[in-house]
C-alpha cells in the first residue's frame, strides 16, 4: 500500500496532517501500539522539518508486510553539514519557528532513535531527501 502526501513549507496550521493520516491507517492494520507510536514520531519530525525549513515537499509512505518505508523529499535550502544537523541541540530554525517550540535541534535525533534505517542526503540550495524504514 503506497500513499503520497504533499507538504507545504511554512504552513504550520496544516502541519502534522500527513503523520496523523498514516497513524490512523496503521491503527486500522492492527500494528502494535508501541510501533505505531515510534512511526508517528518519525513521520511527524520529518514532516515538521519540511514545514519549518523547506518550500514544499512530498512524503511517500509504503506500507508492506515487513515494515513501513518512507521517503520525504523537499525543495528547499538543503543541509550544509549533515553530521552537524544530526547532533542533538543543533538547529538552523528561525526565531519565529523557535517561539512555537520547534527548532530544539531534536528532530533528526528523534527520527534516528525511533527508526531502523535512515538515509539522509541533501544538496544545499536544492533540497533534501530522507529515507526511513521501520520494521514490523
Amino acid at each position: 500500500m503506497r500513499i503520497e502526501y504533499h507538504i507545504e513549507g511554512g504552513d504550520f496550521s496544516a502541519a502534522g496532517g500527513a503523520s496523523s493520516a498514516v497513524r490512523k491507517t496503521l491503527k486500522q492494520f492492527n500494528i502494535a501500539p508501541l510501533l505505531v507510536r515510534r512511526i508517528a514520531v518519525v513521520l511527524y519530525e520529518a514532516e515538521m522539518n519540511v514545514v519549518a525549513h523547506a518550500y514544499h515537499g512530498t512524503m511517500t509512505v509504503d506500507i508492506r508486510p515487513t515494515g513501513i518505508y518512507v521517503v520525504i523529499e523537499d525543495s528547499g535550502p538543503g543541509i550544509e553539514d549533515i553530521d552537524k544537523a544530526m547532533q542533538e541541540g543543533f538547529s538552523t530554525a528561525t526565531d519565529e519557528v523557535r517561539q512555537m517550540g520547534f527548532g530544539a535541534g531534536m528532530g533528526l535525533p528523534n527520527i534516528r532513535k525511533n527508526c531502523d534505517e535512515m538515509t539522509l542526503t541533501s544538496t544545499p540550495g536544492v533540497g533534501t531527501r530522507l529515507e526511513i524504514q521501520v520494521n514490523f
Binding site: F12, S13, S20, P33, R37, V41, A104, M106, P109, N110
Partner: protein
C-alpha cells in the same frame, strides 16, 4: 487516577475533549519544546505547556497523551479547540503559572500513587 479526578482535584477548566476525561493519567511531562515532548513524553502522560497553537494537538494525538494542561491564562483559539475535539485531544487550563501547575500536579500524582 484519571483525567477527570485530576481536573477536579486541581481545579482545571476543560476546554476540549470532555468525552475523554476517563483516560488514565500515567504521569506528566512539562516542556514547551515540541520535539522534546515527541522524544521524551510517554503515552498516557499529561503534558504541561505554555504553547497553545494548533501543533500541540498533533503532538498530543500522535504521542497518545492523556491530556494537555495549558498554563497561565493562555487563551486557546477556537480553531485549536475544534481541532482538539476532532482529534480526541483533551485540553485543560490550569490558570496558574507553569511552576505552580507542575508542582501541584507532581504532588497530586505522588499522593494518588501512594494513597
Amino acid at each position: 487516577m484519571n483525567v477527570k479526578s485530576m481536573k477536579e482535584a486541581l481545579g482545571y477548566e476543560c476546554l476540549s475533549g470532555e468525552s475523554w476525561l476517563d483516560r488514565p493519567v500515567e504521569g506528566a511531562y512539562q516542556s514547551d519544546l515540541l520535539s522534546d515532548v515527541m522524544g521524551k513524553a510517554q503515552a498516557g502522560m499529561v503534558w504541561i505547556t505554555s504553547q497553545v497553537h494548533k501543533n500541540i494537538v498533533a503532538v498530543a494525538s500522535l504521542k497518545e497523551l492523556s491530556a494537555i494542561v495549558a498554563v497561565n491564562e493562555r487563551k486557546v483559539d477556537p480553531e485549536v479547540i475544534e481541532a482538539a475535539n476532532e482529534e480526541e485531544v483533551v485540553i485543560l487550563a490550569s490558570g496558574k503559572p507553569a511552576f505552580e501547575t507542575g508542582g501541584e500536579l507532581y504532588c497530586w500524582l505522588s499522593e494518588a500513587k501512594n494513597g
